[in-house]
């Protein structure tokens, strides 16, 4: 068969596929079955044309056709709420448990500096000046003290909203950076964790030593359940990336990195959710001065328990169902 005969014989099919692609790209409704059928036929034609070294304009036309059809045939359809619910109820907590080792590492990298800096600042209030300027420290003092400028005293609903916006932008950004920096062999994530640990610990220790313990702790106890967990989780996801780079195992480095990113990004989805909750709680609940501290401690404790239980148990298959599954698989 000469190229001309080939073209004459199959050109109607190509033209039809072209037309179907045009419809599919512009409208919502199109004939998927026809598209798939034509796509497979044209794939055969392309393979023939390549094997017989037909002129390049012919193979190029077929290539363009198959590529466009390929994109449409394998398009994703499932962006629905069901997937979203599954992410929150099963995939995210399960991904967290699957990365247990990284989670412990990240938690240690965060908590040890936090405790150490907190202790140092508690023992010696001057310690905090190694980390912050005097101006910032004074601001903290004013914020958590009992004065008129204190946090939440004069704040109105509008301020709460502004702070909510600020926390969303600032904290989720930090979470994202903490994850992304992990690609540099995990060093970046570790640095973010340690830095934040020292900073938070030092401020906390200083404020407790300065006698603002009640104000400070009742302010942070509730949203910290979501915020600190989220930072540690983002760090764990980043460490996972870095680990894939350092120890790729039986994959190539790139392959390992890609796999790690696919698993770790599920955790980052969860981090976004946790930080959104944290921002809302911090803006609207933590700053509310009319709530007695005892209530805040109670609610905060409950939140901590809830978050930890959610990460620990949510989405585990029931003992019975998992046995069933194994039997089916066997």
């Amino acid at each position: 068969m000469t190229p001309l005969d080939f073209e004459a014989a199959y050109a109607p099919i190509w033209a039809e596929l072209e037309q179907v692609i045009g419809v599919a790209e512009s409208k919502r409704k199109f004939d998927g079955a026809r598209l798939a059928t034509l796509y497979r036929r044209v794939c055969e034609h392309l393979a023939l044309a390549q094997a017989r070294a037909y002129p390049i304009h012919l193979t190029q036309r077929l290539e363009a056709l198959t590529q466009n059809a390929h994109r449409l045939v394998y398009r994703r359809h499932d962006y629905g709420m069901a997937r979203f619910a599954r992410l929150a109820l099963v995939d995210f907590p399960e991904a967290v448990r699957a990365h247990r080792a990284f989670l412990w590492a990240a938690a240690l990298m965060f908590l040890l500096p936090l405790v150490a800096a907190g202790w140092a600042a508690y023992r010696d209030p001057g310690f905090i000046l190694h980390l912050l300027d005097a101006g910032d420290v004074q601001q903290f003092d004013a914020m958590y003290g009992d004065g008129a400028e204190a946090l939440g005293r004069k704040r109105e609903a509008d301020d709460d909203w502004e702070m909510f916006g600020y926390y969303v932008m600032h904290n989720i950004g930090i979470g994202f950076r903490c994850f992304a920096a992990g690609i540099f062999a995990g060093v970046g994530s570790a640095a973010v964790l340690v830095f934040n640990g020292i900073q938070i610990g030092a401020v906390g220790g200083y404020l407790v030593a300065a006698g603002h313990a009640g104000n400070f702790l009742s302010f942070v106890v509730t949203h910290s359940a979501f915020e600190l967990t989220a930072i540690v989780l983002a760090g764990a996801a980043g460490l996972r990336l870095g680990y894939a780079w350092l120890a790729p195992g039986r994959h190539t480095r790139l392959e390992a990195l890609r796999l790690a990113a696919r698993h770790a990004v599920v955790i980052v989805y969860g981090v976004v959710g946790l930080l959104l909750v944290a921002a809302a709680v911090e803006a609207f609940w933590s700053s509310a001065r009319w709530v007695p501290p005892a209530v805040k401690y109670g609610v905060g404790g409950a939140c901590w328990l809830m978050v930890l239980a959610y990460l620990g148990w949510q989405g585990r298959p029931r003992a019975g169902t998992s046995a069933m599954k194994e039997r089916h698989a066997g």
């Binding site: 001309l4 794939c43 002129p55 390049i56 962006y79 702070m163 916006g165 970046g188």
Partner: protein
């Protein structure tokens, strides 16, 4: 040494898709266009909500966050698979396999822009893009995505008309391809260069009409390869 950056991906149907990764210039320009668009949107919102006081401030901060992190993700998950800037430059984002980009991959590649940005001004991303022949930045490496040109270029035009003429000996498939590709470039090459290339094929050319140049004779062969036959010959072929 390979000079082109063509990236081939095999599909389940057993055909190879050829993807053409976009280089640093096209992607950089696309980024600048997107940056300008984001800036305009932000200023527009600032004009609208700036007057609303603290509540407006909250909207602005959240919209800044969305423009920074979600703008590319949302646009890359549309059918065009590209942000407005990429679309203007004729680019699209696909998976390594040639498949449309998945939500997880779009999210990953844009999160890791923070890593590409380090230590400043996308230095890590630029180094990675210059280093690799498929111009992937770190985010693309981790997500397994590729930024490709969406439109096919057509280097070959129609083969100029000529009386078909059989070559002196049967041509292999590769030789046939070379002859037709050469003929398709008739309008793009100077006549001198066109003729110079044709003379390389002198050994397979039939003697042809007296005084006809090598390129004229090779064009005749090209028509023959394409499947055109002289009228008399075609009649003979039908009789057999």
């Amino acid at each position: 040494m390979r000079l082109d950056t063509l990236h081939t991906a095999e599909t389940p149907e057993g055909i190879a898709l050829s993807l053409r990764p976009a280089g640093i210039v096209a992607r950089g320009l696309a980024y600048l266009i997107d940056f300008a668009i984001r800036l305009c949107i932000f200023f527009g919102l600032a004009m609208l909500f700036g007057a609303l006081g603290k509540l407006g401030g909250a909207v602005l901060l959240i919209s800044y966050f969305c423009l920074e992190w979600l703008y590319p993700v949302v646009f890359e998950l549309t059918r065009a698979a590209a942000t407005p800037g990429k679309r203007a430059m004729g680019l699209r984002v696909v998976m390594d396999s040639g498949l449309p980009v998945t939500p997880a991959a779009a999210f990953t590649r844009n999160l890791l822009r923070a890593a590409d940005f380090m230590p400043s001004f996308y230095f890590a991303g630029l180094v990675s893009m210059l280093w690799r022949c498929d111009s992937k930045r770190l985010g693309d490496l981790a997500a397994g995505t590729l930024v490709v040109f969406s439109d096919q270029v057509n280097l070959h035009g129609d083969v100029p008309a000529a009386e078909p003429q059989a070559p002196a000996r049967p041509l292999s498939a590769q030789e046939q391809l070379a002859v037709v590709s050469w003929a398709g470039r008739a309008t793009r090459l100077t006549p001198e260069r066109f003729d110079e290339l044709a003379r390389i094929a002198e050994p397979v050319l039939a003697p042809g009409a007296i005084g006809a140049g090598a390129s004229q004779r090779l064009l005749e062969v090209a028509q023959w390869v394409l499947g055109r036959r002289a009228v008399a010959e075609a009649r003979e072929g039908r009789k057999q």
